[in-house]
């Protein structure tokens, strides 16, 4: 069935990290559930408890925080083969301070807390796998944080264009601005400036 077909993508993803036994593959098939989120649908809303650890098969989710002034700050876009959850809320069953929603119709494979914990117990290899996933996420977040505090908005935009060229035509400028930490107006000015200064030093 369709569901099994999708799970192959995840099994393949794990396989590229660390080979799995048949039994471990079986566990993945049992514990991850296929699900579709529609464009604009919330996956997690600020104040609720985050129930799922999500692997994106197709589509695009965004994780973001809304500040007191009502402005969005996007922590990450999760597209094909990427992971997303509010990790603090998920593991500690706390109220989330973050939101996750779908920018496109999005197919995912998701696992719930109890299932993930039992997965760790039944197959400790997943402790290692999720250790590595978290380490990788940590490195990326650290990079992103350093960028946001040490380089100008213009350079952040340039580097966004280099790193995520495929997202440029897929995501609106409003969202990109909220990801870069600037206003949409200012992003517009930056793009304008760069169009006039074509290849101004790479």
């Amino acid at each position: 069935m369709v569901k099994n077909h999708k799970v192959e993508i995840l099994l393949n993803y794990f396989e590229n990290l660390i080979p799995l036994t048949k039994e471990e593959q079986q566990l993945v098939k049992q514990k991850f559930q296929y699900r579709l989120y529609r464009r604009r649908q919330y996956v997690l809303q600020d104040g609720d408890i985050c129930k799922q650890y999500i692997f994106v098969v197709k589509g695009c989710l965004r994780m973001f925080k809304v500040d007191e002034q009502g402005n969005d700050h996007i922590l990450k876009f999760a597209t094909e083969n990427d992971w997303v959850t509010d990790i603090d809320s998920f593991y500690n069953e706390k109220k989330a301070t973050l939101n996750i929603d779908a920018l496109e119709n999005t197919e995912v494979l998701q696992i719930e807390r109890e299932e993930l914990i039992s997965l760790y117990l039944e197959a400790p290899k997943f402790d290692r796998i999720f250790r590595i996933l978290t380490e990788n996420g940590f490195c990326k977040l650290q990079q992103r944080h350093l960028q946001s505090i040490s380089v100008s908005a213009e350079e952040r935009y340039k580097s966004f264009v280099e790193i995520y060229p495929h997202l440029l035509n897929r995501i609106s400028q409003v969202q990109i601005a909220a990801f870069l930490g600037i206003t949409p107006e200012f992003l517009s000015r930056l793009r304008n400036r760069q169009a006039k200064n074509p290849l101004a030093k790479s």
Copy 2:
């Protein structure tokens, strides 16, 4: 000996996370090494490969990045019972882009890459332990990142005072400013402003 005495602190730290068997405790004693770093001494210098994953027993380390203009940006202070490493450089044996040095004479227990990897192989429980450590670090970093992009310098300073009151008298304002992402001059003005507006709304 002294060395064994220090390792007890680490064993105790692990014990509070997940109980260890005698064998696992033995592995920790074998693989972690005691070491003293002197004030101002570098633990890791930008361009080198980070060789150690560090647990601070006593003292204070800082991890920071130097940007093109030569300004420091402090990612974290690591004090008693805290961990620090340039995780990307450490695991992937890449040249570090970060620096780590000692703000005080600092006693640590450190483990090298090959030893940590063999620890994971000999005792998979450490995959879980370091998964959890990384998850915790990830949550904190995410919080910090959100703060730095969504609230003013004044509020960041206030929240620093609340979260790390013990660091206030221990660390110079130059360092605190580099941690908050502002100039020392501006930090001075903020403090001045707050002294005049005593309990201005918490």
